[in-house]
Each structure stands twice: as structure tokens, then as C-alpha cells.
């Protein structure tokens, strides 16, 4: 072994050629808080990767501000090792992440380095393809309309706020309202949609606690979802520049799979912390602050990121990149600066409300404020047929519920509407980490919306759901469940078969 190493080294030294020539260099003139000012390097490009020669070795930096007399750069490595007077060199490379299929199932940092202790990602580093973190979003001609559903496994979302592959759907809500749970359930549910091409999931954790990320990864490992998931970890403990780069790394990973004609889903958890990291960076770089001290281009920072989500045309491979950005609001204020920005960029939002969460309505989706602008085009025919009137009924129920707080005498129709609203609300309740395959969602919603369980007491709804699904699976698996899963359509034959099965089941259900 030692002999081989010596021989290899000797060969390397013998073949080493070096001729000194003039090279452009820069010098660090200021350093602090992970930001450096560099004099020289007149030909430096924006977003170019630089190397700072320190006593502790080379430290990477990223050119951010190109000004008349100096360059403002952010240090991507050990910022404490950098001192005034250190030499800086250009690499000629724009910041990128090495990509290959081996990255699936790994936890990486925003620069693509493994952080899960499972060793190197690419056995042959030469085969990894560099994907730039910043890439222009696909143009209009390269895209097509969203037409394939991306099921979350959450009844309330798949029925009323459907998401399509290539869509950008915002998940917004206060802290601890179940935003990450919606994202996690969506990842877990991708195992349960065998009739459609599999989805590669990328979870980008920005500014979160290390323990929360570890817990998330553990759930993925326990459920087997890690086999098709990549986690980009940018916890609160890493410098703001790396937190800022994390979502772009996630987008680059997604684009790698999209370019191969595959479907990818990227979750940015969350963009509020991303905006905070960018604000810190910009203030340290002395960029002028604007509203809430965010720099003027914070909208563009998010719009250029989310524009990279797309459904590509068949000519361009037909791949897709779906984006689920998450925004944390303060006291349900969705009209704050960053929430309104991201709401206007995305194709809809799932609004999770703290009061609903505290009332036990989980997932705490506020149907009135949630919307999906393009997803209905991708919704399966069966779900569309069943869930059509659901939103309207729930909206009427919420209105009546508010109204009856002041009235004691209620007419029969109003009473019935309220009872039905309560029943539908109960049906939509779902525990986390328990996503339902879409065909099962259709079955449960069919029974509820078509009025078959109107007489059922609220406390029996959960039992009905479990037993009914069990009954259908055991006795009508081939005649109802399978055709529904394969075709995604509720034909007249299937409708009558389901009706008969449901009536049969209800006879024996107590």
C-alpha cells in the first residue's frame, strides 16, 4: 500500500509542469462578520468563486458586490482564518454543486458536501456534473401547462387546493401550525402514487435547529422515504451566506433531475429565514436597506428562485420541478412584506391558521384564504367530480357558524347545514405522517360529500373512515380500488359499484 502511494506521488511529481506567468490577484483590505473587501481582481465576475490564501489553507469566497475600487465578497469557509493582506485569486468558476444520481438519499450542505457521515458522495468525482446554483429559469417556449397531479396525501389539500407537477404552491402560517408536517406528508405520500412517474424530493432546511433537521431525516429514514429524497441542510449554526445559498442549491439539484425528464419536488423550509439571511448579508455588505431593512432586490431573490420551478414541454424532456416554499408569518399577518412578495410570486397558497390548529382542526387549513391557481387543471377526474361542492359547503358552514353565535333559534335547514359542515370538517381531519393515497381520499370524500354519512355522530367519523377503507380493500380491492388508482376516473360503473358497496357497509356499521 505504502509503496503504491509513493510510486503514485513520484509519478505525479515527474509529470508536474509549471511555468510562472502573470496572474491577476487581489488583496483582502477589510474582513469581518464573514464579509471581506478585496482590492484588485479587476476582471472578477459577479457570483464568481474566489480563493483566499490563508495560513490555514485556502478559504472559498463568493464575489457579491463589484464596486469601483473594491469587491465585496462573502466567505464560504472559515471566516476567522481570513486576515487583512491575504491574497485572493479568481477560480473562473461560477458557484456550482456537483450532481449525479448518487446524491439521492444523502444529506448535503449548500455546497454539496456530505454532512450525514456516510462518506464521499461520488466515488468517481470526475463523473459528477457541475450544476450552477444560479441558473436562468426556463423560458416560455420551453414550458407547458401543469397537467399531472402531485398528490400530498392530505384530503383537504388534494380535494380543495390541488397541486400539479411544476406548480409553485406556498405553505404559509404562524409558527407551530404544521407547515413542515404538510411538506413531510407530501414527501411520504410519493411512495403511494404508483400509477404516476416517481417524484424525487429535495428538502431544503434554512436556518433551522440542527435537532429539527435530524428529526426530519430520521422520519425519512424510518419510513424509507430517504431512498428518493435529498436533504440540503443549512442550519442556524452555519454562516448567513451559506443559508442564503441553500435554496439555490436545492433548485440546482431539482433541475438536474428535471433535465433528465424526471419529476422533482423541492421544499424550501423556510423563505422567511432565507430573507433574514439575505438581509444580514446585504446590511454587512452596506447595501442600502429598504422596507423592514430588507434590501431592494429581496423580491427578485425569491422570484428568480421560484421561477425555476417549471413543467417542461415534451420537446424539452417533459420533466418538472414543483416548488413548495414555506413562509412563517407573525400573528397570522399575511400582509407583511415577505409573505405578500412570495404570495404574489407563487401559483397559490395553503394558509394554515393557528386558531384552527388550537381548535383541533389538523391540518389547520383555512379554506377561505387558501387557493391553487393552476392545480385544478392537474386534478384527477375522480377527485374533481367528488370534491367540487366541498369548498362551497365549507364556506357556507363557516359563515353560518359565525352567524349562529349570536342567534339561539335556528331553522331546520340552517341546523342541517351546520351539522353537515361539522361532519365535513371532521372528515377532513387527518393525523400527520399519515398521508392517504388519492384513491382512498376519493372513497372517504365520496361517502361524506354525497351525504351517505350525514346521520353519523361526529365521534364515529374516524372509525368509519378506517373500517370503510379496510372493507373496500378487502372485499372490493380489484373492482373499486384498483381501477380508481389506475384510471383516476370515477366512471358510471364504478360510481354505482361504490354506491352499492357503501350501502352494504353502512348496514353493518354501528
Amino acid at each position: 500500500m505504502a509503496y503504491e502511494i509513493v510510486e503514485k506521488l513520484k509519478k505525479q511529481i515527474a509529470s508536474f509542469k509549471d511555468e510562472a506567468g502573470f496572474e491577476d490577484i487581489g488583496t483582502v483590505t477589510e474582513s469581518g462578520d464573514g464579509i471581506v473587501k478585496i482590492a484588485g481582481l479587476r476582471k472578477c465576475l459577479s457570483q464568481e468563486l474566489l480563493t483566499i490564501e490563508t495560513e490555514k489553507g485556502e478559504v472559498a469566497a463568493l464575489a457579491f458586490n463589484l464596486e469601483e475600487g473594491f469587491i465585496g465578497a462573502v466567505v464560504l469557509g472559515d471566516a476567522l482564518a481570513v486576515r487583512v493582506g491575504h491574497r485572493v485569486r479568481q477560480t473562473g468558476k461560477i458557484i456550482s454543486i456537483p450532481m449525479g444520481d448518487e446524491i439521492i438519499g444523502r444529506v448535503v450542505d449548500p455546497l454539496g458536501r456530505p454532512v450525514d457521515g456516510k462518506g464521499v458522495i461520488f466515488k468517481d468525482a470526475g463523473k459528477a456534473k457541475d450544476y450552477p446554483l444560479e441558473r436562468k429559469a426556463p423560458d416560455v417556449l420551453a414550458r407547458e401547462s401543469v397537467n399531472v397531479p402531485l398528490h400530498t396525501g392530505i384530503k383537504a389539500i388534494d380535494a380543495m387546493i390541488p397541486i400539479g407537477r411544476g406548480q409553485r404552491e406556498l405553505i404559509i402560517g404562524d409558527r407551530a401550525t404544521g407547515k413542515t408536517s404538510v411538506a413531510l406528508d407530501t414527501i411520504l405520500n410519493q411512495l403511494q402514487d404508483p400509477s404516476r412517474p416517481p417524484v424525487i424530493c429535495i428538502y431544503v432546511a434554512i436556518g433551522q435547529k440542527n435537532s429539527k433537521i435530524a428529526q426530519f431525516v430520521k422520519v425519512l429514514e424510518e419510513t424509507g422515504a430517504i431512498k428518493y429524497t435529498i436533504v440540503v441542510a443549512a442550519p442556524a449554526s452555519i454562516p448567513a451566506p451559506l443559508q442564503f445559498l441553500a435554496p439555490y442549491a436545492g433548485a440546482a439539484i431539482g433541475e438536474y433531475f428535471m433535465d433528465q425528464g424526471k419529476d422533482a419536488l423541492v421544499i424550501y423550509d423556510d423563505l422567511s429565514k432565507h430573507a433574514d439571511a439575505y438581509r444580514q448579508l446585504s446590511l454587512l455588505l452596506r447595501r442600502p436597506p429598504g422596507r423592514e431593512a430588507f434590501p431592494g432586490d429581496v423580491f427578485y431573490v425569491h422570484s428568480r428562485l421560484l421561477e425555476r420551478a417549471a413543467k417542461m414541454s415534451k420537446e424539452k424532456g417533459g420533466g418538472s420541478l414543483t416548488a413548495l416554499p414555506i413562509i412563517e408569518t407573525q400573528l397570522n399577518d399575511i400582509s407583511a412584506y415577505i409573505p405578500t412578495n412570495v404570495i404574489s410570486i407563487t401559483d397559490g397558497q395553503i394558509f394554515l391558521e393557528a386558531s384552527l390548529f388550537n381548535q383541533g382542526q389538523r391540518p389547520a387549513v383555512n379554506v377561505g384564504l387558501s387557493v391553487s391557481r393552476v392545480g385544478s387543471a392537474a386534478q384527477t377526474k375522480a377527485m374533481k367530480k367528488i370534491a367540487g361542492p366541498l369548498r362551497l359547503e365549507l364556506a357556507q358552514f363557516r359563515e353560518l357558524q359565525a352567524f349562529v353565535q349570536f342567534a339561539s333559534d335556528l331553522d331546520e335547514t340552517t341546523k342541517k347545514k351546520i351539522q353537515r359542515g361539522e361532519l365535513l370538517t371532521e372528515v377532513l381531519k387527518q393525523a400527520d405522517r399519515n398521508p392517504l393515497p388519492f384513491e382512498r381520499e376519493v372513497l372517504v370524500l365520496y361517502a361524506a360529500i354525497r351525504g351517505y354519512i350525514d346521520a353519523l355522530p361526529i365521534n364515529r367519523v374516524a372509525a368509519f373512515q378506517t373500517e370503510f377503507l379496510d372493507y373496500i380493500e378487502k372485499l372490493h380491492g380489484d373492482t373499486i380500488l384498483k381501477p380508481l388508482q389506475e384510471k383516476g376516473e370515477l366512471t358510471d360503473t364504478l360510481d354505482s359499484a361504490l354506491k352499492t358497496a357503501l350501502q352494504e357497509f353502512l348496514k353493518g356499521f354501528k
Binding site: 511529481i13 510562472a20 502573470f22 490577484i25
Partner: protein, 119 residues
């Protein structure tokens, strides 16, 4: 407000004041600790104004006068040449022009390059 050293240098070169007056202004602004940098900036700007270049020649060890003379003769008279000893170079010479370009013939660079060469 702290003035950048380049502003001090430009002001000095434009009005060429009595050095005593200049120093008192620097002291009044609390910038005396930066006087070395200010003087260096004045020298650099004056050199550039006369079409010269600021050249720094670094050796790994002390050189004899004859060698230094031989090297400085290679540059034009209007250039500002400074000689430094940088032991971290290990061997050889490094020449830096205007802090933006360098010709590095040091052993340190060769080792670094060899280290980063992919096999």
C-alpha cells in the same frame, strides 16, 4: 466620518500642503494611527500620476545589494519598487504589480500547485 486613505492621498497631491499642516489635519481627524497607510497611498498615487507602477519584489531570504540592484534596474525610473523578505515563500521570488498582478516564481506556489493537481 472616517476618510479613506485614498482621499487623504488625493487631497495631499492636489494641494501639496506643508507636511506639518497636513499632519495636524490627520491628527485632528484621529487618523494618526493610519499614517503609514496614508503615506503609502500618497506614494502609490503619485507614482500612478507620473505613469509609473507600484512594484513589490519579495524574496524568500535576504539578498545582497548587487542582486537587488540588478533587479531594480529592470524597472523604469518612475516605478515605485519596494523590496521585502517573505520567508513563507521558501525559495524564489514573487513580483507584484499594482497589487493586482503577480509573477510568482516561488517554491511555495509550486508546492501549492502540485498539491492541488488532480492525479
Amino acid at each position: 466620518m472616517k476618510y479613506p486613505v485614498s482621499i487623504y492621498a488625493r487631497a495631499f497631491l492636489e494641494i501639496k500642503p506643508d507636511p506639518k499642516k497636513f499632519l495636524s489635519v490627520v491628527a485632528k481627524n484621529g487618523d494618526l494611527p493610519r499614517i503609514d497607510k496614508i503615506i503609502a497611498a500618497i506614494e502609490e498615487q503619485e507614482t500612478h500620476d507620473h505613469g509609473g507602477k507600484v512594484i513589490s519584489v519579495e524574496f524568500a531570504r535576504e539578498m545582497d545589494d548587487a542582486t537587488i540592484k540588478k533587479i531594480t534596474k529592470k524597472f523604469k525610473e518612475r516605478d515605485l519598487v519596494s523590496i521585502k523578505v517573505t520567508p513563507s515563500l521558501i525559495a524564489g521570488t514573487r513580483i507584484t504589480i499594482d497589487g493586482a498582478q503577480e509573477l510568482d516564481g516561488s517554491f511555495q506556489r509550486k508546492i501549492n500547485k502540485l498539491w492541488h493537481t488532480k492525479s
